[in-house]
């Protein structure tokens, strides 16, 4: 009766035998059952598809405009211009479709670069503390107190005349750099806090006692705890960048022509809102809101699903 292996065998027999399931699998299982998440995923996937394969959705070139066809109201699916044309006679559907890629690409670049910076700096500063932490934390504070829009307007106006060429990346390079400069601090703080929390947990001490290197401890034990929740922030951050781009474009300092973005279209559409062509604003605004909302819904639910404390 006192033999431990015998008792353990009995313990195994009474085991309920759950299949192995990771935190992620668990999260997906619970997300699958939520209709709002499914809808949001469908919407987000649709716009991703539009961004990747614009020619599937329109055969017209957004740059080929005929001023004679200016401001044709939506003809829906019967006519040549389903969503109508804008003030210069460009096809609105074609513009919308081709504007999706710069908008989403900008968001993806800004968010991934700032997450990378934030996670690296946050981990280093939370793990080593001392002067490394002091320097990083002060820099974070400096960037936090500068208002994003003011700095963006200033920087983008200053470098307005720098020509980077007209490739897809070049047209979004400037807003991408400026938005990234002001997007990494949140992740840094967030990751630093969860590293501080995680690094004194017993399993981290156990790894240290085994002789694991600092890098191994950070990558294998400390970071995975922070990463889950940072991942959940990403969709919301993408939504935020898309709307910031719209603001910058509205101010005339966003994605550069000839590229179009939803922001540029909103800016143009707003001028005609009271001029009888409301659809010019409604279409880009609708796309923007649908994308932003779906990413926010996914982000919120992902965060809840990945948080072990909410279980």
């Amino acid at each position: 009766m006192s033999d431990p292996s015998v008792s353990a065998l009995i313990a195994e027999e009474t085991d309920t035998g759950l299949p192995p399931r990771s935190l992620w699998a668990e999260a997906f299982r619970s997300l699958r059952r939520r209709p709002d998440v499914i809808l949001a995923t469908v919407v987000a996937a649709f716009f991703l598809l539009v961004a990747l394969f614009p020619f599937l959705f329109t055969r017209k070139d957004p740059q080929r405009c005929d001023i004679a066809d200016a401001r044709i109201p939506p003809q829906w699916f019967g006519g040549a211009h389903p969503f109508g044309t804008n003030a210069y006679g460009c096809d609105v559907l074609a513009q919308l479709v081709h504007a999706t890629r710069p908008s989403l690409l900008l968001a993806v670049i800004v968010v991934s670069v700032s997450v990378l910076i934030g996670v690296t700096l946050g981990t280093v500063s939370g793990y080593y503390l001392g002067w490394v932490d002091a320097v990083i934390s002060r820099v974070v504070e400096v960037f936090l107190v500068i208002p994003l829009l003011l700095a963006a307007i200033l920087l983008l106006s200053l470098f307005r005349n720098v020509d980077l060429g007209s490739s897809q990346l070049a047209t979004i390079a400037q807003p991408a750099i400026v938005l990234t400069m002001f997007a990494w601090m949140g992740y840094t703080r967030y990751v630093r806090a969860s590293v501080l929390e995680a690094k004194n947990l017993d399993y981290v001490t156990a790894a240290r006692v085994l002789g694991a290197s600092d890098l191994r401890i950070m990558v294998r034990h400390v970071l995975p705890n922070a990463i889950g929740t940072v991942t959940a922030l990403i969709p919301t951050a993408i939504a935020a960048v898309i709307s910031y781009e719209a603001v910058l474009a509205f101010l005339g300092i966003g994605v550069r022509p000839p590229a179009v973005s939803w922001g540029i279209m909103i800016e143009e559409g707003a001028q005609w809102f009271t001029g009888g062509s409301r659809y010019l604003l409604y279409f880009p605004l609708g796309c923007l809101m649908a994308t932003v909302l779906s990413f926010v819904v996914i982000g919120d639910n992902l965060r809840d699903a990945l948080d072990p404390k909410l279980k």
């Binding site: 006192s2 033999d3 431990p4 292996s5 008792s7 353990a8 065998l9 313990a11 195994e12 759950l18 192995p20 399931r21 990771s22 935190l23 947990l201 017993d202 399993y203 001490t205 156990a206 790894a207 240290r208 006692v209 085994l210 002789g211 694991a212 290197s213 191994r216 294998r220 034990h221 995975p224 705890n225 072990p308």
Partner: protein, 351 residues
């Protein structure tokens, strides 16, 4: 010359934490002497029980011994060799000698790693322990060794009960084939009916593998059960040490006596047995420990010593001047291995 079978010796070990105030100019306003001059000896295949309440410094001592914290002073000798200041490579080798089992089965396992990864991590860190192809097999053997089903390598910690998790923690510690296992309250978070299973596993492993245990606990009855030798700590110092029988049957320090009297005996007919030595109040703050003998503010014996009127404690009872002013040395008692740090150790034994 160290004795041949001594595997771990600690000499006058201390760990002080500075207490700082201020944001920019951090002034040191004090010091917490978490461990304050502790000496211990652990022999091969034996178990040394380390007992103390919260704030006694027993967990800090464990962290220093496994190399997570650097000692402020003192020496740690493994097999007679001073390892307090060794280089990187040697420290890595040392990791294999001393391993640790933790108290909380829930925070001691990474929830995002399967138990195969947890137990196998040792081989990833020390690749020479097992050739790459044999690691899976080695992990399964370890799981079997601690009484778990080897087929469960792909499961995650949350699928196991507290007792099973503690077995996983033991398997992880055994992976590097250590000779010394530091058990920090390994059963105090478990249900009574499970505690025995884990204790028996530890004893069985000790017999089979010749391990030496430093067994830290606040539970005197568990220590009584598993330990060959016992050291009692109070506010960072060892106040009594000796063999299990010496300390439990003939305690020579008033704190040891008080600690033992506070353990409830699971027998209702012995409720009112003998005189109950009750300790008043809490353990004083280690930031500002009492002068002289740390225990004099709570000691039940001090007021009973004749001529102890010259100094008064917070509760108004008299204390001999010597207790208030002089730190008592850990001195041999009836047998040479039984030490107690009390100016009136002989009186403790008599009462």
């Amino acid at each position: 010359m160290p004795e041949a079978d001594v595997v771990l010796e600690v000499r006058d070990l201390a760990k002080h934490y500075p207490v700082r105030r201020g944001v920019v100019l951090k002034r040191q306003i004090g010091e917490v002497k978490a461990v304050d001059g502790v000496s211990l000896t652990l022999r091969k295949g034996r178990t040394l029980g380390l007992v103390g309440e919260s704030g006694s410094g027993k967990s800090t001592l464990a962290k220093v011994l496994v190399g997570v914290e650097k000692p402020t002073r003192g020496q740690i000798l493994v097999d007679g060799r001073d390892v307090t200041d060794v280089g990187r490579a040697e420290r890595r080798a040392l990791r294999r000698t001393i391993q640790m089992v933790f108290q909380d089965p829930y925070t001691s396992l990474n929830p995002r790693m399967s138990i195969g990864e947890i137990v196998g991590e040792a081989f990833a860190i020390h690749p020479d322990m097992a050739p790459a192809g044999d690691r899976g097999k080695a992990v399964r053997e370890l799981l079997d060794r601690v009484g778990l089903n080897p087929d469960h390598v792909h499961r995650y910690p949350h699928q196991f009960s507290g007792g099973q998790r503690q077995r996983i923690g033991i398997a992880r510690a055994l992976a590097v084939r250590p000779r010394i296992l530091l058990c920090d309250e390994p059963v105090s978070a478990l249900d009574v009916s499970i505690q025995g299973q884990v204790i028996n596993l530890l004893e069985e492993l000790q017999d089979d593998l010749g391990l030496s245990y430093l067994f830290i606990a606040h539970d005197l009855s568990v220590v009584r059960h598993i330990a060959d030798e016992v050291a009692v700590m109070y506010l960072g110092r060892v106040v009594e040490s000796g063999t299990d029988d010496e300390v439990y049957e003939r305690p020579h320090h008033p704190y040891t006596r008080a600690l033992m009297s506070a353990v409830p005996v699971p027998d209702p007919t012995r409720r009112d047995d003998g005189l109950e030595i009750m300790l008043e109040g809490d353990v004083p703050s280690p930031l500002d420990p009492p002068t002289g003998c740390h225990f004099h503010t709570r000691c039940w014996l001090a007021p009973l010593i004749e001529g102890s009127v010259d100094a008064e404690r917070p509760d108004g009872r008299p204390v001999p001047a010597v207790c208030r002013n002089d730190r008592p040395k850990l001195a041999p008692q009836e047998s040479p291995d039984h030490h107690a740090a009390c100016h009136f150790a002989a009186d403790v034994a008599r009462r």
